[in-house]
Amino acid sequence: MKANQYHRWLRAFKSAWPRTIPICAAFFAIGLSYGFLMHSLGFAWYYPAAMSFFIYAGAMEFVTINLLLSPFNPLHAFLLALMVNARHVFYGISMLDKFKGMGLKKFYLIFGMCDETFSINCSAKLPEDIDRGCFMTWVTLLNQMYWVGGALAGALFGNLININAKGIDFMMTALFTAIVLEQWDSIPEHRPALLGFSLSALCLLLCGPQNFVLPAMGAILGVLLLLRPRLQIAQAVSTCKE
């Protein structure tokens, strides 16, 4: 029985790790930059380590650096994290059936469901003899190890890199800009992006840098809901195709 269990996990591992290679490269590199960024802003190594492990949602980890450097505002932090990570709700909805009957593994699979892990677990076609639960657990675990490992390495070895780091905090802006551009190309409906820009800019000018996020989130949600009859997007983003 024990040996059987061991083989089940081993077979799943052999099938899982090759599919995580592209993510390994990207996660380690971005994690490394994340750790280095926090190091250069004066945070001890355990900040990026704990944040990359427990938050484990790339965009929000970068935003959290900003929150830590601003005046203490817990409600703002909570709501911002809800909004930035709202997309996870839709990943969850598409995995409802796939995580069924996974026992204890299910809690870890949900905890570690970031964008990239979701995209593998959602689309992987597995042979009959591979246990789906073990496979998905490996994918989730490996991806998280790459990310946390990268962040830890960047934080610990940051002092070995002797460059003028002035302006490196722009990395966060660059990351979000690149994501917007990527989505702009892949989704033909541009009005949600344009609304996100214009409503946020408007609220920033009206309310100032300290107070604009909550009104901006409210305005975006409100206008998107009002436009619902006219913005029905044919593309089914939230369905998980096999």
Partner: protein, 111 residues
């Protein structure tokens, strides 16, 4: 850091709780394959793009009101757009844009 250690722990903990809420909520709300309401699925399609656009503005929030009114940031963003059109690579866009901005701040917009 402008925060005390306790404040920073509270902030991180709240971000963790909110993030986990977004991941666990569907499994608490829709057990056993109950279908999600259409308005939720609609938001799933349109909200992510709008929120990322908001985050770009969020990153620029302090620069807009500074002496240079976000001019270096806008130049670097334009550079990222060019990189994206040329290479269509996330990595090149992020690294190129960041290095470009660092060079701008260290050599052009000095002081």
């Amino acid at each position: 850091m402008s925060m005390s250690v306790t404040e920073s722990i509270v902030t991180i903990a709240l971000v963790v709780i909110a993030t986990m809420l977004t991941r666990f909520l569907p499994f608490m709300l829709f057990p056993a394959g109950r279908k999600a309401p259409t308005v939720i699925r609609y938001l799933g399609q349109v909200l992510p793009t709008a929120v990322i656009a908001m985050l770009v503005i969020y990153c620029l929030k302090d620069a807009v009101f500074s002496a240079r009114h976000a001019l270096p940031e806008l130049i670097a963003i334009a550079f990222i757009v060019v990189l994206h059109k040329l290479f269509h690579s996330m990595m090149i866009s992020v690294v190129g844009g960041t290095v470009g901005y660092m060079l701008l701040m260290q050599h052009v917009f000095v002081g």
